[in-house]
Amino acid sequence: MRCVNVKRYEFFNHTADVGIRVFGNSLAELFENAGFALFDIITDIAKVREHEMRCITVSRESIDELLVEWLNRLLYLNATELLLCNKFHIREIAQQSLRGEAWGEIFQDHRHVIKTEVKAVTYHGLKVYEENGLWKATVVLDV
């Protein structure tokens, strides 16, 4: 259940690319908000409807790498299917694996606008951590 006072993400300064700091009341919510941030950068997310769903299961060596993997998997769906997502639900998450869902629809010329092409999710300044009961993550997107 998302606490309405927590903003999902903010930008931090990075000259060549896009740096984001993501927040969440739980690890699951952090990852959901990271997915939201990704597509908020790619498109006008308000115009995206929840027509289709994709299941995503990933595992990596650490929670930091898991975040990169989750976002890169979303990016892959965006790149290959032109899928735009606006809603995310992490069903299960541990330090090295997660199972989640992403809802959205396929890009349509007349309805959607693409603002930025995100090439990849990088490991630059990558950090997933808990601070005063709030989960945070910093990640840089190569655009």
Binding site: N13, D17, E65, T80, K115, T116, E117
Partner: protein, 484 residues
Amino acid sequence: MNEKLSFSIERIDKYRVRIPRQGSMITDGIVYVDTAMMPHPQEEQSLQQVANVACLPGIVGNSLAMPDIHWGYGFPIGGVAAFDMDSGVVSPGGVGYDINCGVRLMQTALTRPEIEGKLRDLVEALFVNIPSGVGSKRTDMKLSTKDEKNVFIKGARWAVEKGFGYADDLSHIEEHGAIPDADPDIISDHALERGRPQLGTLGSGNHFVEIDYVEEVYDNAIAEALGLCKDTITISIHSGSRGLGYQICDDFIKVMLKASQKYGIALPDKQLCCAPIKSAEGRSYLAAMACAANYAFANRQMMSHWVRESFEKVLRASPKALQMKLVYDVCHNIAKIETHRVGGKQKQLCIHRKGATRAFPAHHPQVPDDYKETGQPVLIPGDMGRYSYVLVGTERAMEETFGSSCHGAGRVMSRHQAIKAAKGRSITREMENRGIYVRASGRETLVEEMPDAYKDVSQVVEIVHNAGIGKKVVKLRPLGVMKG
């Protein structure tokens, strides 16, 4: 970023700064900058990355950075580093996500007055004929997996065989448009999926097709040999390996993170993850990187064919009549196996150039025959509102930088800052006031790429020229720009 770096830095001369070997560094760092470009090196975070690269095993010579240096992933942008084939490492971070992002320059016999009234039509024709923008893909061409794998091996030659451009073009492309030892069978399904629909597309961000004219000539003899006379029209294409390259880089960062641990390589920065060149992981990366590089060569070859077709359609004259020839095509993000002189002996090395360009001198065996007297052309694009340059490689570059030079301008504003700075402004109109017609797929891309967001490339080029690691030949000015 004003936090002072913890290591010492000293200025060698007007154009060079040294980070002396210290701490875990195996060698010195040498950065080509003057005091105007970098007034406070001690506060420059990108120098930390130069120092980090100097810690990698098997590094030969110095950890280098060109004047367009800025903060990257692991390696700085503008970074050059050579590694011993037996004791050294190869790192995807030393190449970048956009493998073989590079530039191609075409010359024509047209002069500026001849196309002035037709400029809009030319740019519009380019916009129609060359898919660009996010998610751009060609619907007129269905590439099978078999075709895609052929592209990975043959590179630009595949495109020529399919009727895109001429066989003559190949000798004017770095590596003749195909890096050897590509292995298509190790490319992941995800990478194949991303690459398949995007062959023949420009992409977005800082990729462009640009119509320029030669504004100034610095060396008449060399300019003439390259086919670049004052006031003649040229066309530049800046693009890379699209989603294929990004996915291959991502796939191999995962491999290299594990490999670094497996081979006990201490990483000052996770993004310098690497493996010994001759290890299975190292060889796989180079073979996959070659696939992406060759895809990018094929891509630029196809786009230059459509440039020729666009000019033919609008000007109603054949590309041959317009003398639309390829001047040269260079990589900016690549790792190459090259032979260089080290300690008086010829030695094979793995050279990483990340946001840096090969710059071989006159008479180098890899320089095309018709450029034997001039040296290899080095293409340096600036931002879309100012200028670009053509240089040639020099002997001094061979001695000091493993035959490497800068690649472009480098950003000063983040994309976010650029969007803020552009509020209430029409970048399209500002460009038109400068006499430049711009056509972009997305408004935000145009804003993010506005001239104010970039350094002045002439500063970068002046340092390269004065340091002797490149020689200025001509300056180009944009007239029409097409962006994704």
